[in-house]
């Protein structure tokens, strides 16, 4: 079975501080890893490293096509939500908007969305991309209970279809996760 994500002996130094070293990471189809650790232990940096936005200080990393949900919304504020999302490669836009209960908001300008709606929109952007590897940085932040349920359902479906998820979160996520502890 081929891996969707494979990292070997990864090390990352940021701002003169060693965040982690000798980290081996493997994610196959249907697998999910929950990165845990105290604040500042490098959870977000690991996500950005896997995304290719940071270079590892040592080690090698290979991955399949990935989609990232982090702090940045990356949607044009003046556009209606539907058009803003379709700026990105979004082969599964309809399903993603339905999954996160955004259908009714397709015509609403992004700048008028509430915090929670914007958080759901960034997750919908990930789901709509059709990428096999999802990288989620604190995906539960700002979500209400319905939003969290929708996220867990979306992750379960994604894994069933052979996708993989790497998530950093200080909150518990639904379903079966392999834990990866950083720092401490």
């Amino acid at each position: 079975m081929s891996l969707l994500l494979k990292g070997e002996r990864l090390a990352l130094v940021r701002g003169g501080r060693l965040l982690f070293e000798g980290l081996d990471l493997g994610l196959g189809a249907g697998e999910a890893v929950h990165v845990v650790g105290p604040n500042g232990s490098g959870k977000s940096s690991l996500i950005r490293l896997v995304a290719g936005l940071l270079r590892p200080s040592a080690g090698r990393i290979e991955r399949a096509d990935a989609a990232l949900a982090d702090e940045g919304l990356a949607l044009d504020r003046e556009l209606p939500l539907g058009r803003a999302l379709s700026f990105w490669n979004a082969p599964q836009l309809g399903a993603a908007m339905a999954a996160f209960a955004l259908d009714g908001l397709a015509g609403v300008p992004v700048r008028l969305l509430s915090t929670g709606q914007a958080k759901r929109a960034r997750l919908a952007r990930v789901m709509a991309s059709g990428a096999r590897l999802w990288l989620l940085d604190e995906p539960l932040n700002g979500l209400d209970r319905a939003g969290a349920t929708a996220l867990n359902a979306a992750i379960a479906e994604h894994r069933q279809q052979g996708g993989a998820v790497l998530a950093a979160s200080h909150l518990p996520l639904g379903g079966e996760w392999r834990e990866l502890e950083l720092g401490g």
């Binding site: 940021r14 950005r48 995304a51 290719g52 936005l53 940071l54 270079r55 096509d65 990935a66 989609a67 990232l68 982090d70 702090e71 940045g72 919304l73 990356a74 949607l75 044009d76 003046e78 700026f87 990105w88 490669n89 952007r125």
Partner: protein, 212 residues
């Protein structure tokens, strides 16, 4: 993705105050006769250079909205994940920015040249010189915007960075408005080509460097 990015730049430029640099350009051109006096001969001699100073200062105005908002919103990161090279992002931004800056500035240069007392042949030379120069000004603006993105007081810093970089362009550009026989126009074109060709690479490197 590149096409979509250019369309987006144009849309955001037009809705985000593309007229501001143009109004600024015309205002500077209006100030010149007040500052140097109404002597028509003196005005027509310095008019071409004055237009270039107006164009350069106008090109500085949009710098802060070119790259920083996209970096802060994570758009540049998402573009990287979608497999778009940072250099391509830079090139698309230059093209998109020029489309909302260059043609409008050339249009404004017509009344602008009358404000600084240029006659029709001088107007034609100025338009040609500015037509060659505006892509370079747009490229410089995007490059400087990417170099200063995320820094405090980026606006002031961008001015300090952009003015010296534009010196060769202004020298040959302004010279080309005066004398049609000289080689200034060709040299201006060479400088402009150099800036337009080099800027996407500087922009790409700056975007990547801003992540670490």
């Amino acid at each position: 993705m590149i096409g979509r990015l250019i369309t987006r730049e144009v849309r955001r430029g037009l809705s985000g105050g593309a007229w501001l640099p143009i109004a600024f350009f015309l205002l500077v051109a209006t100030i010149v006769p007040f500052a140097v006096g109404p002597d028509a001969r003196l005005l027509s001699r310095i008019g071409g250079g004055a237009l270039w100073i107006a164009a350069l200062t106008a090109a500085l105005l949009p710098v802060e909205r070119l790259v920083e908002p996209d970096r802060a919103d994570g758009l540049l990161d998402q573009l990287a994940l979608s497999g778009t090279a940072e250099e391509a992002v830079g090139a698309a931004k230059i093209i998109g920015h020029w489309l909302t800056f260059g043609p409008l500035l050339l249009l404004a240069a017509v009344p602008g040249s009358f404000l600084v007392g240029l006659d029709s042949p001088a107007l034609a030379r100025s338009l040609l010189s500015l037509a060659i120069g505006t892509p370079a000004l747009a490229a410089l603006a995007v490059m400087v915007a990417s170099l200063t993105a995320g820094l405090p007081r980026a606006g002031a810093l961008a001015g300090l960075l952009m003015m010296p970089l534009a010196v060769p362009l202004v020298i040959f550009g302004a010279a080309a408005t005066g004398d049609s026989e000289s080689a200034a126009l060709k040299l201006e074109a060479a400088v402009a080509l150099f800036l337009v060709a080099g800027s996407p690479f500087v922009t790409g490197a700056a975007i990547r460097a801003a992540r670490t």
